[in-house]
């Protein structure tokens, strides 16, 4: 990074996680910036992004399309072409910086210690090759001494582990012979065949039915328990995040806007964009009279990111901040009143009070009522 850290007060994710366990987490993304030069100008896809994931833990990344969630995780795998992407900052996997690694070094890591599950399994699997051959290929590339027979045995074993019935015969099927959920299982088997320590799942269940989604989420949780791998779960479904993630990172317009433990973020969000996300999705168990409050407008262009807070133009609470601070100054990512692990990028003085008093009664009337009862009992 050529510029020095502009926000000295910003808490580093490394410090946050290091408080829990000594030593650095398995994956540390530090001040990552990804820009793409285009004919129209420089696209600021990811700006100053920092997060970390420990082994055995799941980080959920939420945000709408174009918020940089996929771009940032593709950078972890070194999937950006260095001719078309300008990457700065550092990404440390197991203590080793992977930004600027050569293609050969990157290839050794990719699919071996770090693997990815893609959203569209039909597009990610090759239609001409049997799934067994594709699985075996992934294994033999990282185990050059393994024979074809061993690789095939390993492929069958993985299909069995992800719950595909009759793996001995299904291993010779083509991708189109599998249903959507089964194909996603094949993708997961391929991602896990080399026992990766870090698994990046990019919208792994978005294209699936809820019943199949539940099966896949259960499977990922079981496998995580077995292999103690770190998982990054990219999704726009807050329900999936709530069930799967230990930590949540909310992204907006290429930046982290809120970061902290999952339960904390979902019950006491402090950033109006997170409030907006929570209020715009209905919940099957919530009060049917709860309102669905959309976020007005659309995200800003990444070609000309605004000078101040990127969410300012859509924010319905910026009138509570004095002057035009929101429009002129980008807020730092810093801890608010709810502990050092909960970071947010917002100028609002007392967000928790605003959330409890204004937002919660609209989106979850019964929860707000029980909470005010509790507080009145306490006082």
């Amino acid at each position: 990074m050529s510029e020095t850290n502009p926000h000295p007060t910003e808490a580093k994710p490394g410090q946050v996680a290091a408080a829990a366990s000594a030593g650095e987490p398995y994956l540390v993304v530090d001040d990552l910036t990804v820009k793409f030069p285009t004919a129209d100008g420089l696209v600021h896809a990811v700006s100053n992004l920092s997060y970390s994931v420990e082994l055995g833990k799941t980080l959920g990344i939420v945000g709408e399309s174009g918020s940089g969630k996929s771009v940032s995780s593709m950078a972890v795998l070194g999937l950006h072409d260095e001719r078309s992407a300008q990457i700065s900052g550092s990404i440390r996997v197991d203590g080793k910086d992977v930004v600027g690694l050569s293609d050969a070094q990157m290839r050794r890591m990719r699919g071996n210690t770090v693997a990815m599950i893609f959203q569209d399994a039909l597009a990610a699997l090759h239609p001409f090759y049997r799934v067994g051959a594709q699985l075996a290929e992934a294994y033999r590339i990282h185990h050059p001494s393994a024979s074809r027979k061993e690789a095939r045995k390993r492929a069958v074993e993985m299909l069995d582990r992800v719950g595909i019935p009759e793996p001995q015969s299904r291993v010779d099927d083509f991708p189109h012979q599998f249903s959507g959920g089964m194909r996603q299982r094949v993708m997961i088997a391929m991602g896990l065949i080399n026992d990766p320590s870090l698994l990046i799942a990019d919208e792994p269940t978005t294209a699936l039915d809820v019943t199949v989604q539940a099966q896949i989420l259960d499977l990922l949780q079981d496998l995580q328990r077995e292999f103690n791998s770190a998982i990054i779960m990219i999704t726009h479904d807050l329900g999936v995040i709530a069930e799967m993630a230990d930590d949540v990172l909310v992204m907006y317009s290429g930046r982290a806007v809120e970061y902290g433990p999952c339960k904390e973020i979902l019950t006491h969000p402090e950033m109006p964009y997170t409030w907006g996300l929570l209020s715009s999705v209905p919940d099957v168990s919530s009060d049917p009279n709860a309102r669905m409050i959309p976020i007005p407008g659309t995200p800003p262009s990444l070609l000309h990111p605004p000078k101040g807070c990127a969410f300012e133009a859509r924010c319905t609470h910026s009138d509570k901040v004095g002057g035009d601070l929101c429009a002129t100054t980008l807020p730092d990512m810093r801890a608010g009143g709810r502990g050092q692990t909960h970071l947010k990028r917002c100028h609002l003085p007392d967000p928790d009070a605003i959330f409890t008093a204004e937002v919660l009664p609209q989106i979850a009337p019964e929860l707000a009522a029980s909470e005010s009862n509790q507080s009145s009992e306490e006082s």
Binding site: D209, V210, E243, V284, M292, I293, P296
Partner: protein, 404 residues
């Protein structure tokens, strides 16, 4: 946005969930609708070797100005049902009575269908592929007006601009192309096009599933506004159970071409009696339950949906059903009304983990508990599969027909 709205203004513009009007007359009555797609053999003589029973005997009513949700896994026939109602397919059997004159959309000729197309419109799932990229928005929204000769040619443009304003787009943008709009805006264009002919019934096939979450609510609220303002009935096809709950006071759950449970919002979401509905609801990841720690037990459905070419005998859900018994393979459960506005097609309907010990339908079908013919009993004459709801229904506690 150039101007700032405050949070209070923002909330004031939103809507609570749609409410049910129990007395509204039906605008569409679907009775025993069937759609079989032929499966042909390979080779020179392509013989018909079977049928994909995509929709097999579906009956329901859409009340005027109301909305009915159709939910189910992919391949359950919910989209086919929507396409049958808009007559993009001609059904194999059954009837679809529409409008004041009860015209049957299933048997009507294409010529007679044309005026009716004004009244039944469709909103498509994918706002990227459902708009012609080479046409301007003005042409896209104006074409239905021209085809059906709704307004004089000179007034087409002003009407298009009115429509764009109604759906919350800038009327000055009529000469732009679809690629200049975001996903949410494109879906608004699709809605404006469907609205142009002032339809009585809109079939919305997954209208928001291709949109970002923050945009979904905008489009849902827009559809609620339009529904209230123009008294449009909606058949809302979606797989997102939470959105369907918000939009539809009445919901039908489909499985493999059949409706397995239908009822008002309360009956389906808080009192589901069919094991499939229960499994479907328990599979939805839920923010609140995950954060408060009251995790309900997830009912795991194993395996995949069976092939609709060769559906299982008896109840189609029995191969994946956690409570299936012998009778389920022998007899198909009738869609039995068990509440004021609640019907379920199951031999063992009950709350989660509390199914009845013996099949409640055995007596009605004239068979014993194992499903074998019972010489002492005859099928009940009370069993009718009519669309809509009767005044009397089968009471699960007393195991007899009557008013509650």
């Amino acid at each position: 946005m150039s101007e700032h709205t405050s949070f209070e203004e923002q909330v004031a513009q939103t809507h609570a969930a749609n409410v049910l009007d129990p007395d509204a007359p039906a605008v569409l009555t679907v009775d025993n609708l069937r759609m079989y797609f032929p499966v042909k053999s390979g080779g020179v003589v392509r013989r018909r070797i079977g049928d994909v029973q995509a929709v097999d005997g579906v009956s329901f009513e859409v009340p005027r100005g109301g909305s009915v949700g159709l939910v189910g896994e992919s391949g359950c026939g919910k989209s086919t049902t929507g396409r049958l109602i808009t007559r993009l397919y001609k059904p194999t059997g059954g009837s679809m009575k529409f409008g004041e004159h009860d015209q049957d959309l299933a048997t009507i000729s294409d010529k007679e269908m044309k005026p009716l197309r004004r009244e039944v419109q469709m909103i498509f799932q994918d706002p990227y592929s459902s708009l012609n990229p080479r046409h301007t928005v003005g042409t896209i929204v104006g074409t239905p007006l021209r085809v059906h000769d709704v307004v004089p040619k000179k007034q087409t443009l002003s009407r298009v601009q009115e429509l764009l304003e109604v759906v919350g787009l800038n009327p000055e943008h009529y000469n732009r192309y679809p690629n200049e709009f975001s996903g949410g805006q494109r879906q608004r264009i699709g809605i404006a096009r469907a609205l142009a002919l002032q339809p009585k019934l809109m079939v919305a096939d997954e209208p928001v599933s291709a949109l970002d979450v923050s945009i979904q609510a905008q489009v849902i609220n827009l559809m609620q506004d339009l529904q209230r303002e123009f008294d449009i009935a909606f058949l809302f096809i979606a797989h997102d159970l939470a959105i369907v709950r918000h939009f539809c006071p009445e919901v039908a759950v489909m499985y493999l071409g059949k409706i397995v449970e239908i009822g008002d919002r309360e009956s389906i979401y808080s009192g589901a009696h069919h094991p499939y509905t229960q499994a479907l609801l328990s599979a939805v990841p839920d923010i609140k339950q995950a954060t408060t720690g009251e995790r309900r037990e997830r009912i795991r459905l194993t395996g995949d949906v069976p092939s609709p070419i060769n559906p299982p005998s008896g109840c189609r859900f029995r191969t994946r059903c956690p409570i299936a018994q012998e009778i389920c393979a022998k007899h198909e459960p009738p869609l039995l009304q068990i509440g004021k506005r609640h019907k379920v097609a199951c031999h063992f309907p009950g709350r989660i983990n509390q199914p009845p010990s013996s099949p409640i339908t055995a007596g009605l079908l004239g068979v014993d508990a194992q499903g074998s013919p019972d010489p002492g009993a005859s099928p009940s004459s009370d069993l009718t599969d009519q669309p809509g709801y009767a005044d009397t229904w089968f009471d699960l506690d007393s195991k007899s027909f009557g008013r509650a």
